[in-house]
Symmetry: D3
Subunit: 131 residues, 6 copies
């Protein structure tokens, strides 16, 4: 159990319920995952997070599957277990194959390794890398 | 300056020099960036890191540009300034447009935000997300 | 289970027992939470941590509830689940309302997001911000 | 220098310029700090970040100074140098005294320390701490 | 459960099985821990990780127990629960006494604390500390 | 420059000056590094940090050089540049050879890598690893 309870539909404010209806419509399922039920104690943050998430994760110059994998990469470096599980499920739903997942994890591991080497060595940034 | 000096070519061991020659051949340039010059104090780690990096970042189920962006995502969550600079330069060289960079950063920011919300709420993982 | 066992009262050294008695007196309850029972294997660290914690968390220029929320903010960024749970409980005991908790989490999420954007952008510090 | 250039006013899109005008009006100064100039390459993220920041940092159940200190606490745990500098300046502008800053840092240090001890010990969360 | 299933011996590719045989021979036990069973979905990463781990953790200028404790220190700062548990077990098997574990944790806690103080204070590096 | 100024000797409170005298006596040099000059704004934290540091880093079941390397490992995972520089200098002063530094960094890089792989895979802890 978390630091707040998970709200059931009949415990929601009107604003929170409206967000849940948007989530259900966007995803084509009645199931609302625990993150949103925990966040529903704060309808303003719930609304802002859901709306911004829709914009950020929409197809653009990057496709949604690449965006899901970027999400997993950040969540792994931060150690957010829930985020890794939920976005791995989302990435699989968007077509991440076992081979793609394996390559993504290999890159994450490689980046973590060189992050540690570079940071321990305190390497100065080369002039050629600056914008 | 870092916690070790950057080795010039005439300070290298034979094993380190061989890795530098591989880097030059793979990249088609004489320029060796600071990370490798710092790592050259330890030829075994230099060799293992360069060889594994080539395997991990090669085209596969994911294309090399996606891999560079995953690298940046991890490095940003870890706050590794050198890594962010060097892999942003590499991603640009592989075709990352300003719009792609902007979307990548927006996803990283979104992931960081929900990582904080989820972690502070201590949300339990939904059964449906488990492998 | 952790990397050490939790010590029961009859397994304690005299030094550790003395700290437990101080904790019980300060908190007005017999209950000793798991952190202290795990730390009791090292009476010197137990004593130093408890004593310093009392000084640091005491009322001063900042009130104890603000201090508990700062503790939660750090623990969330570090992903320390136990710390988030124990200090959220402490903050509630010191009067953190659901609305205060929601606002605290919104700030944490916002800070995480801009941390990611700033770090990915590698923004130089403005001269006006330096002490 | 960062991974993007800092945009001057005459390089801005109309949407980005509108956000800059909002920032100037809200803060009563012409000065726009580097974060916004770097973020201006992506007007949608610039707008969303500024608008949400205003909502999150506004007075509510927590006062704005407490919110600034929570921001600093997160940024310190994440090691975001720019964020620490800019929000320390903001906190000072909102009345953070040297003594308040010292106590805030002492709490941050204490939390970091017990985060390390708890994580290394892998302490299970006490039932009494759960929501 | 994780984001991938744990592979049993009869689900392994030939390459993965060969690594498992190496692990069994090196450790003198049939037991293969969960990390390797999860990683076995990607035989190339499994092979590279096992081989490099053997090199890195072998006796050298540092003894293997010191290396295990360094591993725990990194894993604690990163909050990797599995890594802390598995390398604490490995360190104990290599002779880490309860007193050594306690001192290791005290150093980790101390380092975390000063990391937070230094980062919050944004202290410039003294010239005398540079290589 | 940091978020506080560095205090010169003639700006110190009597309590802070007493700590500086202890540092000078313990180290056999007049030089006081920037961390202590920044921390001197808060004499209570200065005193508690210095005194506890002396206890934690003293010879015990672990030798002081091992403790310095553990300190660097934590500071690298946390990305604390000042801490990495100052404790690398301290480790060198206590006899860390270039080969020892190289092996320490290789372990740190290896640990970072497997931390990323384990966290991305969300591997459950084996029963045999629990205390």
């Amino acid at each position: 159990m978390g630091t707040v309870t998970l709200l059931s539909d009949d415990q929601l404010s009107a604003e929170a319920l409206a967000v849940f209806e948007d989530i259900r419509a966007a995803r084509g399922t009645d199931y609302i995952n625990n993150f949103w039920r925990a966040l529903a104690h704060d309808p303003a943050t719930l609304r802002a997070t859901w709306d911004r998430l829709q914009d950020v994760m929409a197809p653009g110059a990057l496709d949604p599957l690449v965006k899901e994998m970027l999400y997993i990469a950040v969540s792994t470096a931060n150690g957010c277990s829930y985020c890794i599980h939920s976005h791995t499920a989302a990435a699989k739903a968007r077509g991440m194959s076992p081979q793609m997942q394996a390559e993504m994890l290999a890159v994450i591991g490689m980046a973590m390794q060189t992050n540690g080497l570079v940071t321990g060595l305190q390497v100065d940034v080369d002039e050629v890398f600056k914008a």
